[in-house]
């Protein structure tokens, strides 16, 4: 086992706007590490989102685009078609990808666009103050469901299961970062997603179950426990689809 740790050169050294204990930082770091390891820092175009992930282009040391809300997969499609040899990925939250951006995300997967999506699922709208998102779980209290999400609001939306049915989607996985072992699995999933894209095998998506201690009203460690105990039964972890080429 390798010892020690050095910050990936793809991450800019600056203080982040994320709240204490926010899992966005871990996922940012894993994306940067994978890009470093694949030697693609100069070949990467990242497409951000609207939400807490909005400043990703400030933190990554490669080209980035800030698209309008939810339209990252459409922008990434354009970039990839013009520059087919680049690694193009989007970094989106659940309010961006699973709510306003559903159309773009679904049709991008159905068309089998050669892009990757890193999807952060923290079950609510983080940046705007913790409102209900399509991924909010039944009974979960948010600022717009003060008595918990009920039948009137409908059931949560499982993005991975839905996209796995599309022929164009080659790699679909759901992971979490609540423990060191899960962080290692998430990194592997991000690497496989990028390899799927670079091998031209199809669309790839990695959903990362992520803690939002601030809007859940918990301390960072309670929030990690919440992901492990409450979120994983609703959003089961695992690789739903893996192409032959990257196994």
């Amino acid at each position: 086992m390798p010892k020690g740790y050095q910050r990936p050169s793809t991450l800019v050294e600056r203080p982040w706007h994320f709240c204490p204990g926010c899992n966005h930082g871990i996922v940012h770091r894993l994306v940067a590490e994978v890009i470093d390891e694949m030697g693609l820092q100069k070949e990467t175009v990242g497409v951000g989102s609207v939400g807490c992930g909005v400043f990703s282009y400030e933190y990554f040391n490669f080209d980035g685009i800030g698209p309008s809300h939810g339209r990252a997969p459409a922008v990434a499609t354009g970039v990839k078609r013009v520059l087919p040899d680049r690694l193009v990925f989007t970094y989106q939250g659940d309010g961006d990808l699973a709510a306003i951006g559903t159309t773009e995300m679904v049709h991008c997967a159905v068309r089998g666009e050669l892009i990757s999506i890193i999807f952060i699922n923290n079950t609510l709208y983080g940046m705007t103050g913790g409102q209900m998102a399509p991924t909010t779980m039944m009974g979960q209290v948010t600022t717009t469901t003060p008595r918990g999400r009920g039948q009137a609001q409908g059931h949560p939306f499982r993005v991975c299961e839905m996209l796995a049915t599309a022929e164009g989607a080659a790699y679909v996985a759901r992971t979490a970062v609540y423990s060191p072992a899960q962080v290692v699995r998430t990194k592997k999933a991000i690497r496989r997603a990028f390899e799927t894209q670079m091998a031209g095998l199809g669309f790839s998506l990695v959903e990362v179950l992520s803690a939002c201690p601030t809007n859940w009203g918990m301390n960072p460690l309670e929030a990690l426990k919440f992901v492990e105990e409450e979120m994983t039964p609703v959003f089961p972890l695992g690789e739903l689809k893996v192409p032959e080429g990257v196994k």
Partner: protein, 71 residues
């Protein structure tokens, strides 16, 4: 022998490194950094095994673990 470097001014005091360190040698300092958080620090670096789980779990990427120093 390992050295653990913290970017103290970027620390937000979430305590994830403290909770996950298998040797339990990380604590939150009593003083505050410029952002007003109690930063994390290593209490007994001689017991560090260099596993870097602290760096793996740090959401603000402020920890680096490097091999060095006299054994």
């Amino acid at each position: 022998m390992f050295e653990v470097h913290f970017l103290e001014q970027h620390c937000k005091g979430c305590g994830m490194c403290v909770a996950f360190c298998p040797r339990k040698i990380i604590e939150m300092a009593e003083h505050t950094n410029d952002q007003g958080y109690n930063p994390a620090m290593v209490t007994d670096v001689s017991r560090c095994t260099g596993c870097a789980i602290c760096a793996m779990m740090c959401p603000h990427v402020i920890i680096e673990v490097v091999e060095g120093g006299a054994a």
